[in-house]
């Protein structure tokens, strides 16, 4: 852009000065913005500020809290790794760790299996396909607390509709204590997690399936490949990058799951269903031991970090090969 001198007017001196100043500022700013590195930093700045304020600061604060003996209303002082040491020797933490790994591992396998199965089904042509796809999403759309309360009723020790149906069908003669048994409680919680998580897998994998060229399947079919072979030789390899991303997100979310367990059992009975988030919440927010709570929630951060790095590395490798 070039600056034009102010036309006309009585003050020629003024017209001679003002345009020069504008030209100089404009050229200066333009010159700076023409530098791609500076422009890149400027464009990145809003995102960096948001990430810094809403992610980096809370994370850094959490790390700091885990290294202090802070309690409610007391900022505490630096205690090094004492909170982590305490968690390491805490039997409830041990149980919580086992629960969290079982909870994440088992539900991820089931969510992937059911999600893939549903995605393959939904990828076919059939009547009311759109309605079916919308319907599948329902568990994912309904607020978690609301749907979990519905499940809580279904698992109710006294009035469980599941028990009632099984009893009417003659399958059981005594009530099943869905949320009261040591192992059954965790299994019941996992069922709800799978129910809620399958749509995320199904829709994401469906999107991946739709990017696969149907001609590949047609060619393989002409060559005599059976459906199962086509799946393993064509669909699965091409779907793998999408699957890895979906699993990555799901594992992170499931590891940090809170609402579902908190509403269903509060971590009970006798800590049988505590996962990291609920135990950290009980210690940090319930009992007000902020330092210890932060240490519990951060204890598995290194493990998760390794999982994420490995998965991202794998995704990048498959992208480049």
């Amino acid at each position: 852009m070039t600056a034009e001198p102010i036309a006309g007017g009585a003050g020629d001196a003024a017209t001679a000065v003002l345009p020069r100043a504008r030209v100089s500022r404009s050229r200066g700013l333009g010159h700076i913005l023409e530098d791609e590195r500076i422009l890149a930093y400027l464009l990145l700045a809003p995102a960096a500020i948001i990430l810094g304020v809403f992610i980096a600061y809370p994370f850094g604060r959490g790390v700091w809290l885990s290294l202090t003996n802070a309690t409610v209303g007391n900022p505490g002082s630096y205690v090094g790794l004492k909170n982590f040491e305490r968690a390491w020797n805490d039997t409830i933490f041990h149980q919580t760790t086992v629960n969290t790994f079982v909870y994440t591992g088992v539900t991820t396998v089931f969510k992937l299996a059911f999600g893939l199965w549903l995605a393959v089904l939904l990828n076919r042509e059939f009547r009311a396909k759109r309605y079916a796809r919308a319907f599948i999403l329902l568990p994912f759309i309904i607020p978690t607390v609301l749907s979990t309360f519905a499940w809580k009723w279904m698992f109710d020790p006294t009035f469980s509709v599941i028990n009632w149906c099984l009893w009417r069908l003659g399958v059981i003669t005594q009530r099943i204590n869905w949320l009261g048994g040591e192992h059954l409680a965790l299994a019941s919680v996992m069922v709800v997690n799978v129910w809620r998580g399958v749509p995320f897998y199904a829709i994401s994998l469906l999107a991946g399936l739709q990017t696969i060229n149907p001609e590949l399947h047609e060619a393989a079919a002409i060559d005599g490949a059976a459906a199962w072979q086509r799946f393993w030789k064509i669909t699965w390899p091409l779907l793998l990058p999408v699957t890895m991303v979906v699993v990555l997100f799901s594992v992170i979310q499931t590891f940090a799951d809170f609402q579902l367990v908190y509403v269903l059992t509060g971590g009970g009975p006798a800590n049988a269903t505590h996962v990291f988030a609920t135990y950290a919440y009980q210690i940090g927010v319930g009992a007000g031991l902020l330092g210890q709570g932060a240490a519990i929630s951060l204890a598995l951060f290194p493990v998760l970090l390794i999982v994420v790095i490995l998965q991202l590395w794998y995704i990048r490798r498959t992208d480049t090969t």
Partner: protein
């Protein structure tokens, strides 16, 4: 901006009112018939649990607080939340340095939040002095180092509600006096699909209200009077051993997953014969006499009686849940908040709320035992002086922050729950002892 003109007479009135308030507190406000200048235009936010007696929340919202607003010339906003969500709310408020001016607490929770609250001894002592003094349990859980960290409000009595006719069918006309008798009766009733109902889950009220006094009745205790952990004793192991067979033989085994409301629903629907509870089951049956009926079609309210928990080898104990209000340190309206608690705690005002409870809660002071309400309904009579028997968690030590931490982590309840789930009694006691040692040192 509107300018307020004040003539000499008005100036004198305001000065006198302000002086009265400064020297006499709430009495001064009431005597002056106008709020102090600093209270005018202030808003007090108060958070309480959602009462198990809904009529009492209504009384507060529609009757008492509007009156208090007029008396204190302040806007008062009441928020009621699930009792299990109170602790997280307190933590968030203190850490955020903002939130409600007054928060209701239960048990000895306030000891965990001591640094975030103001001393309310001036309010508490005035109430105690005017109303016969606080029950020991109420005073113990609200004082720390000679300071009141919360103003005692009420005590929810916990008694065993039981089905009179079902007990009578087994030839029992008086509630069993020992655990062994209760076990034997429960066993017979469970065979008839009429088990005892008791929560052993992670829930705020009924679980600790059962597990603590049950432990004490066998002679078990968390710590001795010097604070040394003494849980792992023969008495505790015996109590756990008894509990495992008692549970299997006589209880609804779903109780491991119950919260504080499950037993109410189970009792009201006729699936359990007895349960430790506040009087909310009976009060609900009074509210809807034609909704809740016995299998014979009679109103359920006519078939409910209440009894204290049975005796163990070392005596009969109870843990009645104390409620109190904390005034938060971050509040910009500490003075008005204290005045509100004093206003609500006066005999005349508390009476309105107390009557609405129909005995579900007793006052934190002993005078409320003399209230005519207790003559209205003999079924509620066992609750009248229940708070006198109450003992606080942390026994034989003080109900301090460490005791509150033990309770918040459900360690005593889980000790029994683990054994019920199959862990050897000795192991579950050892586990609980280990957890207690980490807290008490």
């Amino acid at each position: 901006m509107k300018t307020v003109r004040m003539d000499r007479r008005e100036f004198v009135k305001v000065s006198v009112a302000t002086a009265a308030v400064a020297t006499t507190g709430i009495e001064g406000i009431l005597a002056a018939r106008r709020a102090p200048a600093w209270a005018q235009g202030t808003t007090i936010n108060i958070v309480r649990w959602t009462d198990f007696v809904p009529a009492s929340d209504k009384v507060l919202r529609e009757e008492l607080l509007p009156k208090a607003e007029k008396a204190l010339k302040a806007t008062i906003k009441l928020e009621t939340i699930n009792a299990n969500d109170i602790q997280p709310r307190i933590t968030a408020a203190i850490e955020g340095n903002s939130g409600p001016d007054i928060i209701m607490t239960q048990h000895n929770w306030q000891h965990l939040y001591e640094r975030g609250v103001v001393d309310v001894g001036d309010v508490a002592e005035k109430i105690a002095k005017a109303q016969g003094g606080f029950y020991k349990q109420s005073r113990d859980v609200t004082t720390s180092g000679g300071k009141f960290i919360a103003v005692p409000w009420s005590v929810v009595g916990l008694m065993i509600a039981y089905r009179k006719s079902w007990f009578a069918e087994e030839g029992v006309t008086k509630f069993p006096t020992t655990w062994q008798e209760y076990h034997a009766l429960g066993k017979k009733l469970k065979v008839k699909n009429r088990p005892i109902g008791q929560t052993m889950g992670h829930t705020f009220g009924d679980a600790p209200a059962f597990s603590y006094p049950y432990l004490w009745s066998w002679g078990g205790a968390e710590v001795d009077d010097k604070g040394k952990v003494v849980l792992n004793s023969k008495a505790t192991v015996d109590s756990v051993k008894f509990m495992t067979s008692f549970w299997k033989d006589a209880h609804d085994e779903g109780g491991l997953a119950w919260d504080d409301s499950n037993n109410n629903r189970a009792f009201l629907s006729g699936t359990i014969c007895a349960t430790l509870n506040g009087a909310s089951i009976y009060i609900e049956s009074l509210r809807f006499p034609d909704k809740y009926k016995t299998e014979k079609g009679e109103q359920l309210k006519t078939d409910i009686l209440h009894s204290p928990m049975p005796k163990g080898p070392k005596g009969q104990f109870a843990y009645h849940v104390p409620f109190s209000h904390m005034v938060m340190k971050y509040s910009k309206n500490v003075g008005v908040a204290k005045d509100l608690l004093l206003w609500l705690g006066t005999k005349e005002n508390f009476d309105t709320w107390f009557v609405s409870q129909k005995g579900f809660s007793v006052g934190a002071t002993t005078d409320w035992e003399k209230h005519p309400l207790w003559k209205d309904d003999p079924i509620m009579l066992p609750y009248k002086d229940a708070a006198r028997l109450g003992r606080a968690p942390g026994f034989a030590g003080p109900p301090n922050a460490k005791a509150a931490e033990v309770q918040t982590k459900y360690i005593i309840t889980d000790m029994y729950a683990k054994a019920i789930q199959g862990m050897a009694p000795e192991e579950s006691v050892k586990w609980a002892e280990g957890e207690l040692k980490k807290i008490h040192g």
